[in-house]
């Protein structure tokens, strides 16, 4: 018997999960929403998606290879996913220079400077979005009109988002019903026929992605469903109290970035809590802050801020909210 045996500690069996499999599953879940974006925004959606994904991957490669001098980590798919999510979070007529800048902020500042995958506190794609929104408010809030802009890119015809119109209308002394008359029907908005960031418009497509991720057990229901439910309930109360001042909860669910945020941004493994109870509190926080910003804040949309704010308290959640242990603790000596 000359053969050498492998000796290792148990367990000797592993399932087939891997980081890249999980990342690519999320990418697959984003495909329906991407398809809708291509249909409504055409060439612009394609250009910014390619720009964002390529630049994110290249930045990560350059940083790991030449600054950290470590083996490149781009094959795990996380940089590509971040790039994809950056594209989903910006208007499809955005200048590619801004997209590349966004990728740089996401990868270099929000991700790699914290220590790379697994160590960042804030969701990189959202950091990029908020960075761009605050730095270039004009370019980041000129939204291409769907279908008409299909064959146009930087010269796309632009218009406000539904939430923008609502905020402006209310501020201008208009009533909710007055604003709603000018907007597409809720069914049209649910399918994605409205102005907005490239990947956020179609609630229907994003829900298909959610279903896929739940079936594949990439994520659990806790964060997305709790976030949506919180927004629905609180907005519902506001709406019941004053229907002319506050829009109905269904409108808020299907407009803006709520679906994209709740399903794909808040559920980011790295920046969300480490157990189910923590996830539920985290999601409630996101829902509450979103409703507050949307109804009472200066910005028409608040989901990105809400997620980033809640990202910052995740370490505290992880420290103090613990999973239920098996068996009660007996004190020493008893």
């Amino acid at each position: 018997m000359s053969k050498l045996l492998t000796v290792a500690l148990s367990p000797h069996e592993k399932n087939k999960d891997s980081v890249s499999r999980l990342m690519y599953d999320v990418v697959i879940a984003l495909i329906p929403a991407f398809g809708v974006s291509l249909f409504f925004y055409g060439i612009g959606a394609l250009i910014i998606t390619l720009t964002a994904v390529l630049s994110a991957v290249i930045f990560e490669y350059l940083i790991t290879r030449y600054m950290l001098k470590k083996p490149a980590t781009i094959m795990d798919g996380s940089a590509a996913l971040t790039g994809l999510l950056i594209a989903f979070n910006v208007p499809s007529n955005l200048n590619p220079g801004f997209v590349i800048l966004g990728s740089f902020v996401a990868i270099a500042i929000a991700k790699m400077s914290f220590g790379g995958l697994g160590n960042n506190i804030f969701n990189p794609a959202l950091v990029a979005r908020v960075f761009l929104l605050i730095s270039f408010p004009v370019q980041m809030t000129s939204w291409p009109v769907p279908i008409e802009s299909r064959m146009k890119y930087l010269d796309a015809i632009t218009g406000p988002t539904a939430l923008g119109q609502l905020k402006e209308g209310i501020m201008g002394g208009n009533t909710v019903s007055g604003v709603m008359e000018k907007l597409p029907s809720q069914m049209e908005m649910f399918l994605g026929q409205m102005s907005g960031s490239m990947g956020e418009v179609s609630g229907a497509a994003l829900l298909i992605g959610l279903l896929y991720m739940l079936i594949r057990r990439v994520i659990t229901w806790h964060i997305p469903i709790t976030t949506l439910a919180t927004v629905f309930v609180i907005q519902g109360i506001l709406w019941l109290v004053s229907p002319e001042r506050f829009a109905d909860p269904v409108f808020h669910l299907i407009t803006g970035g709520l679906m994209l945020g709740a399903i794909f941004m808040a559920t980011d493994y790295v920046t969300s809590p480490m157990n189910k109870m923590g996830m539920i509190y985290f999601a409630i926080g996101i829902g509450v802050i979103t409703v507050v910003i949307r109804n009472f804040g200066a910005y028409p949309e608040g989901i990105s801020f809400a997620i980033l704010i809640m990202n910052s308290v995740v370490p505290i959640f992880n420290r103090y909210i613990k999973p239920k242990r098996f068996g009660e603790l007996i004190k020493d000596g008893k």
């Binding site: 000797h12 795990d76 160590n119 009660e328």
Partner: protein, 444 residues
């Protein structure tokens, strides 16, 4: 709804390829190497010397303390020498080497297979026989059975649970035993009930062994107080705490023992060994071992005498496959990888699993992506990722606060980790360090 434990758990591929293979007795070898430390606790003390003639079942080493067990000769012949060789633990341990000559059993052992249903002895006598016969837990932990049967003062045993779960993938020795020694198992259960003075016993079996569930359920109608409980298939249901939770819905407290909730758990193999000890005067010198693996030519369930080198078991199953990468004593989730095939099998060897080369090597670990999968599968409600991080940073006190000592080392966290991290290695290290801290505190 089938019963199971509520928190965590995983579903590794079952791979029970030897489930239909009837138990075959392995022919006697020329030589056996009987380790004197085959149980948890103090090693036994050798009481034979070189040149002694021994019979099958004769005691060759006596218990070295309260938590210890007698060791008996598994063959008849002459003690060739007292030696130190590698055993399944990977360390050099004392063994008694015996040259086999014939197969002469002690006269007191009843070699017949007739079932003796009547339990003529009282509980004290039962305990004495179990102690004498060196019975230890055959599920793998090898805790001396007589210690488990002595209920500490102020504690009351109310329920006996017989563990026929066999949740480890690949292994089928308990399954075969339940099929082929069903009556013995029932009488063994009654003996244990009598020893503990309890009226209820549950036999927990996972639902992937339908034939065993059916057979034992039918038999159970003839025995008072025994109920067969089919369980939903989920690893690690065979863990003592998980099984108690699944069957009687009580949680053993942290740092406590099953007896704290009135339960005593014994493996089916142990129960049959108890039957043989009490009714047949037969000490524990042989057991059933599954020899299996995807490339193994003829997977087997073998009845093997203690002390036979593992390589002879593998040869009986068609020899060592070409693509062998790892040989494991036990199952794939909690078994121990062997560094040599010459190690002798012991009382705790429930299986020999041969894994092909491509499944043997660990993958490189990647950064933790905080996916929470380890937390959601942990059956003890712990946070493996955190225990590992604390271990890497040598924060042992915090590891203790996070209840690292509750870890049952089932390996579910490593099984699901998409980053292939060595979670359990660091948890084992942490348990070791925290154990030292606790002991130091007790001294001061």
């Amino acid at each position: 709804m089938l019963k199971t434990f509520p928190k965590g758990g995983v579903h590794p591929p079952e791979n029970k390829i030897s489930a239909d293979k009837a138990i075959v007795e392995l022919p006697l070898p020329k030589k056996v190497f009987i380790p004197i430390s085959q149980h948890i606790g103090a090693p036994a003390k050798i009481i034979v010397k070189r040149g002694d003639i021994v019979k099958v079942g004769q005691i060759i080493a006596s218990a070295g303390g309260y938590v210890s067990a007698n060791i008996h000769s598994s063959v008849s012949g002459k003690v060739a020498k007292l030696d130190k060789i590698f055993d399944t633990s990977g360390y050099r341990k004392d063994v008694v080497v015996i040259d086999v000559n014939g197969d002469e059993w002690l006269e007191s052992i009843d070699k017949t297979t007739t079932l003796i249903k009547d339990i003529s002895v009282d509980s004290e006598e039962i305990l004495k026989k179990i102690t004498e016969c060196g019975i230890v837990g055959l599920g793998g932990a090898t805790f001396p059975t007589h210690v488990k049967l002595k209920v500490p003062p102020k504690k009351i045993a109310t329920t006996l649970i017989i563990n026929g779960v066999e949740c480890e993938p690949y292994l089928t020795s308990d399954h075969r035993l339940m099929m082929e020694k069903s009556e013995e198992l029932m009488v063994g259960t009654q003996i244990l009930m009598k020893a503990l003075a309890v009226d209820i016993a549950y036999i927990g079996i996972e639902n992937n062994k339908l034939d065993a569930i059916q057979k034992l359920s039918e038999l159970a109608t003839q025995y008072k107080g025994i109920e067969v409980v089919p369980l939903k298939v989920k690893y690690p249901q065979g863990g003592e705490k998980q099984l108690i939770k699944a069957i009687i819905n009580r949680e053993v407290p942290s740092g406590g023992l099953p007896i704290d909730v009135g339960a005593v758990v014994h493996n089916v193999g142990t129960t049959v060994a108890v039957y043989e000890a009490v009714q047949k005067n037969k000490p524990l010198f042989e057991r059933i071992v599954t020899v299996t693996g995807k490339s193994v030519k003829e997977p087997q369930n073998l009845l093997v005498r203690i002390g036979i080198p593992v390589i002879q078991l593998i040869e009986a199953a068609g020899g060592l496959p070409e693509d062998t990468g790892k040989v494991i004593s036990g199952g794939p989730m909690m078994g121990k990888a062997l560094n040599s095939l010459d190690v002798p099998m012991a009382k705790g060897t429930s299986g020999i699993l041969i894994m092909p080369e491509d499944e043997s090597k660990r993958k490189d670990d990647k950064p933790c992506i905080r996916c929470t999968k380890c937390v959601s599968v942990c059956p003890m409600g712990l946070e493996p990722f955190l225990l590992m991080t604390l271990g890497e940073n040598q924060l042992w006190e915090r590891n203790e606060d996070e209840r690292i000592m509750d870890c049952i080392e089932c390996g579910s966290c490593v099984f699901v980790c998409p980053s292939d991290r060595a979670l359990l290695d660091y948890i084992r290290l942490g348990k070791n360090k925290v154990g030292q801290l606790i002991r130091e505190r007790k001294v001061n």
